[in-house]
Every structure is written in structure tokens, then in C-alpha cells.
């Protein structure tokens, strides 16, 4: 990733027209899910070709399902690898969760039990995938709505996986906020325990509070101030500057509103980047 590549946005069909010509958004990069584009021809295949000529691409997968018992889908990963090579992709991120079981896809992210045997299993899978792709895999901390047969803290679970596998970490700051609210822990303390030196990518998004004790990670609302504050806290604490993505999957507002959110992310990143230069 070039130093200038800092703030991006997810490329979605619904807002595809806003990425061409005189754009309001002006992202430094775009993020795409390979599942949405691999093997796609016709109109959308053409849009994909054109947009990849305009912006650097980060890939963010949906179906790797690193926490599944079964083998990864090597056939699909082969397609991902081709995409990585063809578009000179520097970051391929996925989720620390499972999205299929016994090779049946679920199309959403389910929480992995925080257990020792799961760590061993996932570390092995990550290494297999990294060897196959010949690049580092970056894994995201996911939001979850119930713990599942946990035998350890989430922070220990994540730390151990990252340390043992050599993967990078996509730190989704909104997910930390959502989980902290839903599971009653302190978000900043959680951040303090993350392997921040391994974080190579951020996600920032909005969410929806549906009950006093339940927030859903929707990606359909604007980022709220406490999540910006947590991002500020995190980037100030980091010893390096990494790309940040604005995630917006539906309920799209005017592009000016998204541009403002990106501007705010840029300002926070720049402020804390400067902070580190001064103290270097």
C-alpha cells in the first residue's frame, strides 16, 4: 500500500455511478468482495473492469469461513488469487468467524467458540491459506450477538491467533464498539489488548441500536461520534498509519454525506499520523 492510499470506501452496485468522472467521494482506494465479482460478465463485469482501472483495490472476502471445520474452498480461493495478482491487491482481508458448515454456505458471519482447539484449528487454516495465496491474510474482528461456549476472553483468542499464525489484523472499530455495548465491556480496554502492531487495515461503519442492550452492526447508518472517538483513541495509540475504510452497504445517503464521513476519517488519521511523526 502506497503511503498516499489512506481512506477508501466499499464499492457497491447501488452507488457505482458515483465512482466515475467528477466524483464527490474521491476515495484513495476501493474495497470489493471477490464473491460479488468473480466470474461476472456483462454490464457489471464491465463496471468492475472500469472501476479497477480508476482505483487501487483492497479485497475483503465473505466466504472463506476460516472458522469452519472443513477445508477452505480452494477452487474459489484460486479465483481470489487470480484477482489479487491481476489487480495488484496488497490487502486481502476476511473475517474471524464462520460462514459455512460442512460446505453449506450461510451468507452471514457466525461467531466461533473462543476455545483453545479453535485457535489451533484456525491457525492451521490461516497458514494454509497464506501459503496458497503467497501473501499475508488479514483477519477482521467481527461483531457478534451472543458468545458461544467461550472458554476464554475474546481478546486472548484474537491475540493468540494473530501471534501464532502471522496474519495481519483488520481492526473494525465499530465492531469493538458494538460488542462492548452488547457484551458489557470497555471498548478502550479492548483496544488496549489488541495486537495493534499487527493491524494493517481499519473498518469504520455505522450501526443501529434496536434495544437498550442490543446494537446491530448494520453498515446502513452514519458513523456515530463515540465510534469516531474510539477510532481517534486507537489511531493515536498506533505506531503506524494504515488504510481506513468507510463501510456503507445500504440505505445510502447523498454522496456528500459519505464524503464528509471520509473527510472526518482522513482528519483523524492525519492528526494522529502527525502526532506520531512529532514523537518519533
Amino acid at each position: 500500500m502506497q503511503p498516499s492510499i489512506q481512506t477508501g470506501i466499499g464499492f457497491r452496485r447501488e452507488i457505482a455511478d458515483d465512482f466515475f468522472g467528477q466524483t464527490v467521494l474521491q476515495p484513495d482506494f476501493i474495497e470489493m468482495a471477490p464473491e460479488n465479482w468473480v466470474g461476472l460478465g456483462g454490464y457489471w463485469g464491465d463496471v468492475f473492469r472500469r472501476v479497477t482501472e480508476c482505483y487501487p483495490v483492497i479485497l475483503h472476502g465473505l466466504s472463506l469461513s476460516i472458522g469452519s471445520p472443513e477445508e477452505p474452498d480452494w477452487t474459489f480461493l484460486k479465483e481470489v488469487k487470480k484477482m489479487i495478482r491481476k489487480y495488484n491487491v496488497k490487502i486481502y482481508s476476511e473475517h474471524l468467524s464462520f460462514a459455512k458448515l460442512d460446505n453449506a454456505h450461510l451468507y452471514d458471519l457466525l461467531p466461533i467458540p473462543f476455545r483453545k482447539d479453535a485457535i489451533k484449528h484456525i491457525v492451521k487454516r490461516i497458514r494454509q491459506v497464506q501459503d496458497f495465496l503467497e501473501m499475508q491474510l488479514t483477519l477482521e474482528n467481527v461483531s457478534y450477538y451472543t458468545p458461544v461456549a467461550a472458554e476464554m476472553r475474546e481478546t486472548d483468542f484474537i491475540r493468540e491467533i494473530v501471534a501464532e499464525s502471522g496474519c495481519g489484523m483488520l481492526l473494525d472499530v465499530n465492531n469493538v464498539y458494538v460488542n462492548a455495548h452488547n457484551h458489557g465491556y470497555n471498548a478502550k480496554e479492548f483496544i488496549d489488548q489488541m495486537p495493534l502492531d499487527k493491524v494493517n487495515y481499519f473498518h469504520m461503519a455505522g450501526h443501529l441500536q434496536v434495544a437498550p442492550d442490543l446494537i446491530i452492526d448494520t453498515h446502513g447508518e452514519p458513523i456515530i461520534d463515540p465510534v469516531y472517538d474510539l477510532f481517534d483513541y486507537t489511531t493515536a495509540k498506533m505506531g503506524k498509519n494504515v488504510p481506513v475504510l468507510l463501510e456503507r452497504d445500504f440505505n445510502f445517503p447523498e454522496m456528500e454525506e459519505l464524503a464528509l464521513e471520509m473527510k472526518k476519517l482522513r482528519e483523524i488519521t492525519a492528526k494522529n499520523s502527525k502526532h506520531h511523526v512529532i514523537h518519533a
Binding site: 464473491e35 460479488n36 468473480v38 466470474g39 461476472l40 460478465g41 456483462g42 454490464y43 457489471w44 463485469g45 464491465d46 465473505l62 466466504s63 472458522g67 469452519s68 471445520p69 472443513e70 474452498d73 474459489f76 464462520f98 459455512k100 458448515l101 460442512d102 460446505n103 453449506a104 454456505h105 450461510l106 451468507y107 452471514d108 457466525l110 461467531p111 466461533i112 467458540p113 476455545r115 482447539d117 479453535a118 489451533k120 484449528h121 492451521k124 457478534y144 450477538y145 451472543t146 458468545p147 458461544v148 461456549a149 467461550a150 452488547n182 434495544a211 442492550d213 442490543l214 446491530i216
Partner: protein, 251 residues
């Protein structure tokens, strides 16, 4: 797999709950959170299918639609990692489990098939036709067919009539969806004979050979002059639609 059988079972139980709503006991879980997962997973299927099959969604009663979604979600092991391809699995699931008969909606399979094939042609990978030349003899030369097409057979003409109305027009309908150069999907309705011509020409048979074979296999009952005119008309139509590109190069 380095999961213990216990951890594997925990994941299985969680998935079982999400798919069926059948009560499971998983240590340390909260019911409210489990409910969210079941809702989220089902919604993903529902939304993807409603988007793919808007007419079926309108034609079916709410109860029928929910039955399809719930049964599919609970029982179908989705094979594709790409959710935009899932409508094909949904269509084949509905057909295989005979919901058209269960709901007394004979046109249901055709309705889903028709919509899926439109999606399939719209999204199919770009394919270049074989090299071709523009000048040639439509009957004597081998014709190059543009590969971005499909051909389906319907029992009810759901592409011509509203679903319920199509019931009164049961028959054999051959439909040729193809992708235009500006990425639209267009449909050509083919009489059975033209569907036969199309398949033969696609396999590389020339019009001359095709006519000869028809003549030989039918004895003297065919009006060969009329048949020749009919074939020529068909070929011209296919050229004008862009489905036939030209004549095989190098011959």
C-alpha cells in the same frame, strides 16, 4: 480438522438453530443473540430471492413464499459462495421438491426458470465468438453463433402472459435469451422447428446439410422449397438480432 468433536458439535448446533429454529442448548449463549442470527440468516435468503424473483414473490401468497424460503433455508446446503448465483439453487430446489404441485401453481417452475435464465445470461462471463467473416452463403456456409445466450423450454408462456393467465396457454415454448452488445438481455420466442434449427446450426451444421437430413428422414412429405425459405427466414432473423455473428473464418 483440529476442532474437538465438542467444538464441531457446537458449531453444528448453532447452524441448526439458525436454519430451523429448533431449540438447542449451547453453553454460554444468549437467546436474544441467537434470535438475531436466525433472523439475519433468513433475511439474507429472503432478500436475495425476492430480488431475483420479484414476480414469483408477488404471485405467491405470503404463506407460500415463507414456506419456500423457510424450507430452502432449513434443508438446502447452499453450494455457491456467491449469493448472486443462489437463485439457481433456489429454482432447482423448488422444482425438485414439487412445490408447483403442492401449491397447485403449475406455472411456478417456469416462472422461476425464466427469471433465473435472465439473470444467468445477464451475468454470464464474457465470451468471444469464434473468428468469423461477414460475407458468406447463409445456407452453404457454417454460421458462427454468439456464445452469450441460452435456450430454455417452457410449458407455460410466463414471458408472454401474467402467470395465472399463462395457465390457459399450456404448450411447448422455446425461448432464446441472449445478451446484446450494450449488455441488455433480449428474448426471442422460437417455434419448435426454429429451436431445432438453432441447435443444429450451433453444432456447426450448415443449412444445406440440415435441409438434406430433414429431407432424407421425412421421406417425401416435406415441401422442401417452403422449408428452405423458412430456414432462410430464420437465419436472417438471427443475423438481424446479432445472435448469429457471421460465417466461420478460414473455410
Amino acid at each position: 480438522m483440529l476442532y474437538t468433536p465438542e467444538t464441531y458439535q457446537i458449531e453444528k448446533d448453532l447452524v441448526q438453530w439458525c436454519k430451523t429454529g429448533e431449540s438447542v442448548t449451547i453453553p454460554g449463549t444468549r437467546q436474544k443473540g441467537l434470535d438475531q442470527y436466525r433472523r439475519l440468516l433468513r433475511n439474507n435468503i429472503h432478500n436475495a430471492m425476492e430480488q431475483a424473483f420479484p414476480i414469483a414473490f408477488t404471485v405467491l401468497t405470503e404463506s407460500q413464499w415463507d414456506t419456500l424460503i423457510d424450507d430452502f433455508h432449513a434443508n438446502h446446503p447452499a453450494a455457491t459462495p456467491q449469493v448472486w448465483k443462489l437463485p439457481e439453487e433456489f429454482y432447482t430446489f423448488v422444482e425438485a421438491h414439487r412445490y408447483a404441485e403442492k401449491f397447485s401453481l403449475p406455472f411456478l417452475n417456469d416462472l422461476l426458470h425464466f427469471k433465473w435464465i435472465e439473470i444467468a445470461v445477464h451475468t454470464m462471463e464474457d465470451q468471444q465468438p469464434e473468428p468469423y467473416r461477414n460475407e458468406g452463403d447463409p445456407l452453404a456456409d457454417t454460421i458462427v453463433v454468439h456464445p452469450e445466450h441460452s435456450i430454455i423450454r417452457l410449458k407455460y408462456p410466463v414471458h408472454l402472459y401474467a402467470a395465472e393467465e399463462a395457465l390457459a396457454h399450456e404448450g411447448d415454448y422455446f425461448l432464446l435469451p441472449f445478451r446484446t452488445r450494450d449488455f441488455d438481455v433480449r428474448f426471442v420466442d422460437l417455434p419448435a422447428l426454429h429451436a431445432f434449427y438453432f441447435e443444429q446450426i450451433k453444432q456447426g451444421k450448415t443449412g444445406v446439410k440440415l435441409l438434406k437430413e430433414l429431407e432424407q428422414s421425412s421421406g417425401k412429405i416435406l415441401n422442401t422449397k417452403a422449408l428452405k425459405q423458412n430456414l432462410l427466414g430464420f437465419i436472417q432473423t438471427m443475423f438481424s438480432q446479432g445472435i448469429f455473428c457471421g460465417y466461420q473464418a478460414g473455410i
